[in-house]
Symmetry: C2
Subunit: 141 residues, 2 copies
Amino acid sequence: MKLSLTDYISITIHQTDLKLTSCVKAMLAPFNLAPEQNLIMMLLWEKDGLTQNEIAEKLDKDKTNITRMLASLEQKGFIKRSMSSNDRRFLHVYLTEEGNKLGDKIIPITESFHRSVVSGITDKELQEVNRILLKIRQNVK
Amino acid sequence: MKLSLTDYISITIHQTDLKLTSCVKAMLAPFNLAPEQNLIMMLLWEKDGLTQNEIAEKLDKDKTNITRMLASLEQKGFIKRSMSSNDRRFLHVYLTEEGNKLGDKIIPITESFHRSVVSGITDKELQEVNRILLKIRQNVK
DNA sequence: TTCAAATAGTTGTTATAACAACTATTTATA
DNA sequence: TATAAATAGTTGTTATAACAACTATTTGAA
């Protein structure tokens, strides 16, 4: 029996992601921060000094895109990149004063967004969804 | 308690989507078809003659992107656009012979991909994930 | 009936993604 | 030690997305 668009779980996932990303984009726009740039900032707010490659690995992204996003974040004044003195191939990424302050404003907003996303969904259901999404990722590895 | 990256269900969804899209892209590349272009083609294989706006609504996408994707599909020879004689604002989209033939090759491939994506996941689990993803979309509407 | 509003589609801009091809630097090995 | 291989990062290209601003056409309302 031929499948229709709504039968494909990958399409449902894709459209859910688009909707979420669109909301996050609007939410972060006043702070001059794009959604993927925010992911990098979230990593750095936890711990900065990471190299570009480390950021790429942690976010499971192509390093070419990390280069460009960091260039943008640096241009906006949220981060600084400095070459490692041990090995001049490495660029370590540090938060600026402004980048640090941004976290105090953004983190409460993203956590509040998360609460609205999962509203009416139990922890058990969330765990189940997490488990199945992981399974899906493994299936197409 | 501060959330870490893996606590955000929206990030998990996003990364799952990226992985899936990346696979689909590689799968369709030999056919000169991009993933989102394929979504349009899937609609048309079900029923062609839709207007651009109808396609945008069905796929829940911005009509500007539909314009560009259709321009690309037309340039590749898979579709034709023809102005409605009743109302010259409407462009109806039709499959070409080549576009039709493409379906016979692609549909079995996407269905086989779907089976590999959901392998080891029960119908009940899939329904549950679908239900919760829908709930999430409604939460951020 | 005429002009404003609504509708369908297009174009320009910015931000991702993925891939190929590239430079610079370091490491490993013959 | 000289050079090939490995590693970190950059640049160019194509395909989405979202939004603003635009044109062309049709509808609606004074």
